[in-house]
């Protein structure tokens, strides 16, 4: 098996408070393979954002280790290598855009890495094309929509040619259209640019599109598997404060009434098909 791009070994993170130290992450063991599309689900305060911040050394573990393509994140000498391997996109697009022109912002990362000007130009153009923002490259970011701004933020990370992108609730502040734009972009990156994607979210329908879902609660991983295996566990999801996808919920409630329906119908089509099959019997 290929060397995992992200690996945590019994990762713990806590910060001191007046009484006992507050534990945010409590022994997380995780391996993410290169090229994967992983969604991390969790209720507020489950530690999912803290986990994300460990993936490119914004936070350093209080205990345990984090490896980014084999590099220990505690190794300060390799900090830039770690951060150019794992790019990070945050919730609020306004607070991660540095420059007043789209393409200048996109160039910020490669500029910091000391890439020669001509190469920056090609990387920036490629990144902006990948997120479908090339036609707006000389616009001012503050005049664009939320979804567009978030796509610029993604392009800014992409221009550093990372092998992995961690997105920390990138759609939380967006309207439905913006959410769809961003999610489509993320999926495209994973498939076409072969970038490993870690999507932190609390939207079930977003997580359902990933290849692997990790559910977190109280700083621990409580479930890890394909969406089709995770989402039918309705009781488990409810116990950690998450609502299962609406389709699964419908199937679940109907099954409780004694109807013979599959629980793994995730998409609307599958759900409709299952109902149709049942009714036409």
């Amino acid at each position: 098996m290929e060397n995992p791009i992200l690996k945590t070994e019994h990762l713990t993170f806590s910060y001191p408070t007046e009484d006992a130290p507050k534990v945010i992450l409590d022994g997380v063991d995780l391996e993410i393979q290169a090229g994967a599309f992983v969604a991390v689900l969790g209720h507020n305060g489950s530690g999912k954002s803290t986990l994300a911040k460990h993936m490119n050394a914004i936070l350093l573990p209080s205990g345990g280790k984090v490896y980014v393509s084999g590099i220990d994140t505690a190794d300060e000498e390799r900090l830039l290598d770690i951060r150019r391997t794992v790019g990070m996109v945050f919730q609020n697009p306004d607070n991660q855009i540095v420059a007043n022109v789209v393409e200048e912002d996109c160039a910020f990362g490669p500029e910091n890495l000391g890439v020669p000007p001509d190469e920056i130009r090609t990387q920036v153009d490629a990144a902006l094309r990948a997120v479908g923002m090339y036609h707006l490259r000389d616009h001012a970011p503050h005049l664009l929509s939320g979804g567009q701004k978030q796509r610029i933020a993604i392009a800014g990370v992409l221009a550093m040619k990372p092998r992995c992108v961690v997105l920390d609730e990138p759609t939380a502040m967006l309207d439905p259209i913006g959410r769809r734009e961003v999610l489509e972009t993320v999926k495209k990156l994973n498939v076409e640019n072969e970038v490993t994607v870690v999507l932190i979210t609390h939207h079930m329908d977003e997580a359902a599109q990933a290849g692997r879902v990790i559910v977190m609660s109280d700083g621990k991983i409580v479930a890890d598997g394909a969406p089709r295996d995770i989402f039918p566990q309705v009781e488990m999801l409810r116990s950690v404060g998450l609502a299962p996808p609406e389709t699964v919920e419908l199937m679940y409630e109907l099954r409780k009434e004694g109807l013979d329906l599959p629980l793994d119908a995730l998409s609307d089509e599958e759900c409709a098909q299952a109902l149709y099959t049942l009714l036409s019997r």
């Binding site: 914004i58 420059a99 990370v157 550093m160």
Partner: protein
């Protein structure tokens, strides 16, 4: 609300020769112009300066109306200066008007007129610089022009970075101010009535949330910048490289020529 009227530091995209000049050349030209402006002493030199400025404005396609609008906030200073100069310039011979303790001499009118003209032209030429140069280019140019001072351990890169981020966040914070204002007004806050002290007090519920949010933004931005490998100016390259072209040298020569001619006019002592 007047928040949207602030045009200071705002850029009007365009493709005129002024837009295309190297930003470093434009900053130097502005400096030349200001130097010449302060050397100008008589009608001939002022006319020359005025003609140069008018020419530049016409070429830039920015439009006089925008410039005049930008001038509104400093109207008070202009009027104040004019009045001071009008009354306090001592002159020879009989005063033109005299009442109570005020005496207006011909020299006062002259000085006030030239002073107002000087301030207006000074503001116009700096506005013209910011209107025709994108803030990013402007900070790049400043960083490049002040570059030699890095040897004296002055944090030039950091200053340029701070400036460009400040410029980047002006529209964001203005938008935020509008939002907070609307929210406070919806809950009965009154920003418009009362005396000066009451008005200032009314601003507190506006400023507190604004500052808190600005600090939060700064914190998030710092993390996001670190994530994108920002580690100061060392070893940093730029996508856009500044290069002097022939037109920049020509423009600089013309600017220098302007200074020389003003100096010449002063020497001749005409008018």
């Amino acid at each position: 609300m007047a928040l949207k009227d602030i045009t200071l530091g705002q850029y009007f995209p365009g493709d005129s020769i002024l837009h295309r000049l190297d930003p470093r050349a434009k900053i130097l030209l502005t400096v030349f112009y200001i130097v010449a402006l302060f050397m100008a002493k008589n009608i001939l030199s002022y006319s020359l300066m005025f003609a140069t400025l008018t020419g530049c404005i016409l070429v830039s396609h920015v439009g006089f109306r925008v410039l005049v609008r930008g001038m509104k906030p400093i109207l008070f200073i202009v009027v104040f200066t004019a009045i001071l100069n009008l009354f306090y310039t001592p002159g020879e011979g009989e005063p033109l008007v005299a009442f109570w303790i005020f005496k207006i001499y011909w020299e006062g009118i002259r000085t006030a007129f030239f002073m107002v003209l000087r301030i207006m032209m000074l503001i116009s030429c700096t506005f013209l610089l910011t209107y025709t140069t994108s803030p990013i280019l402007l900070t790049d140019a400043l960083e490049s022009l002040l570059g030699p001072l890095k040897k004296l351990r002055l944090p030039i890169h950091e200053l340029a970075m701070m400036m460009s981020i400040a410029l980047r966040f002006i529209p964001t914070l203005i938008e935020e101010t509008d939002k907070i204002m609307a929210a406070q007004k919806a809950r009965g806050a009154d920003f418009d009535s009362g005396n000066l002290l009451e008005k200032a007090k009314a601003l507190i519920p506006l400023l507190v949330p604004l500052f808190i949010s600005a600090f939060r933004r700064a914190d998030e931005l710092a993390v996001a910048m670190e994530c994108r490998c920002y580690h100061g100016g060392e070893g940093r390259t730029r996508m856009r490289q500044l290069k002097y072209a022939g037109r920049d040298y020509t423009a600089l020569l013309l600017g220098f020529g302007l200074c020389l001619s003003i100096w010449g006019i002063n020497l001749l002592g005409v008018f």
